[in-house]
Subunit: 240 residues, 2 copies
């Protein structure tokens, strides 16, 4: 495992939720503000975890073909409405639901992210490789100052990670071979899927993504090309 | 015609060839260098005009349904090979053709563009609304320092301007209504097509796009929301 594995890489693509931004504490914070405004008393950190818990099942309906293509914003709105109903919260105006659903557009980056990406951008094409839709990615970038060159990922590919098409269509859109692209992610599973289609892979640990009791993705697994401490460390190693 | 027409606009989308970058002199320059390297003696400015002359006819084949979706890079490569053959140039290695074809990825922006976009980016989402494909737009942005937030346009929409889908799918990808988007372009025809689907419109004159003898798009036509001198002027008017 060393940096030479990334020789020839022209584009660094990034998983976003968890890897670039801290969704859990931001959703909990936005939920708490929403709860105060609407007079809803809930454990909003638990709510954030439950909402995120619907993430994979909702995409799986699209991956399996059980439903046609749908953007993540729409999947997450459905999950949100269902979760609120389970807490006895119904009949909210559509604008209130929309305000909370777009909390995902206002997630904050981990502390070193913007400085690291700004350095990496000097030498590499920087793209999102997220299951988030284009509007979500663009609004989040404006909110947090994320200097992406291009929004790739699920909406461009019309396929949700870890489906191979999601990575492959991103590379193809850049006119690059898979081996000229790297995926940077805090999730070993995502990296293994990208490696399988020829992407180079970089693991960055985000050991509090799921809170203090996190048990998975604490360390890199075998088969990943490179592990770094954070984005600044990656910029150091890539001499950006 | 005044700036108040742009109230409520959240995204500025830009035509690129001619509006943002000076394709004619850059293609002529790259062609001349290519000619020297390959020992081909041609009038490369005339060649640039002839190559660009194939632009609309090549896209029209896709628009009409006569051929399936194809990226602009591929259409332009076909036009290039045909044009070279008409000048008696055949049998060039594929890498040489590719080198010249990707001259479109290395076009320089007009002088005030980067400074103007940098100011506009503070308050607006900046997107490409070009018939150029994603790789072309991304490589051009890296070459010229164009600070786009998002690459929209033909490849995202799978439709070539002035087809309404090209504009509409761009707005939809941003989660915006057409009236929350403006098109900035040096071409009245492009602006009229965008206006027809509800976009706000901004004309910027590029009176030497086609060289010193340019006869079209020298001035704004009726029906366009705003005319500006250049991108800096637009940033002034929008108080960026």
């Amino acid at each position: 495992m060393n940096v030479a594995a990334l020789d020839g890489v022209k584009a660094l693509t990034f998983d976003v939720f968890g890897t670039v931004v801290d969704w859990r504490s931001c959703i909990a914070r936005e939920g708490a503000a929403f709860g105060r405004a609407q007079g809803i008393d809930l454990d909003w950190t638990a709510f954030a975890d439950a909402w995120r818990g619907q993430y994979q099942p909702s995409m799986e309906q699209v991956r399996s073909g059980a439903r046609p293509w749908a953007r993540l914003d729409d999947l997450q709105r459905e999950s949100l409405v269902g979760l609120l109903a389970r807490h006895g919260v119904t009949g909210l105006p559509a604008e209130a639901i929309e305000q909370l659903n777009t909390a995902w557009h206002r997630l904050d980056p981990w502390p070193e992210v913007v400085a690291g990406l700004t350095r990496l951008k000097r030498r590499y094409i920087l793209g999102t490789m997220s299951n988030g839709n284009i509007a979500l990615m663009v609004n989040m970038a404006k909110h947090g100052g994320l200097p992406w060159d291009v929004i790739l990922g699920a909406e461009i590919a019309q396929a949700y990670k870890p489906q191979p098409e999601c990575y492959l269509r991103g590379a193809e859109a850049l006119g690059l071979k898979p081996g000229e692209c790297a995926l940077v992610a805090a999730h070993n599973g995502d990296l293994h899927a990208a490696a399988k289609v020829g992407f180079k892979t970089v693991f960055v640990p985000r050991v509090t993504e799921h809170g203090p009791g996190q048990t998975k993705d604490l360390a890199v697994e075998p088969g990943i090309d490179l592990a770094v401490r954070d984005f600044q460390h990656l910029a150091d190693l890539l001499e950006c």
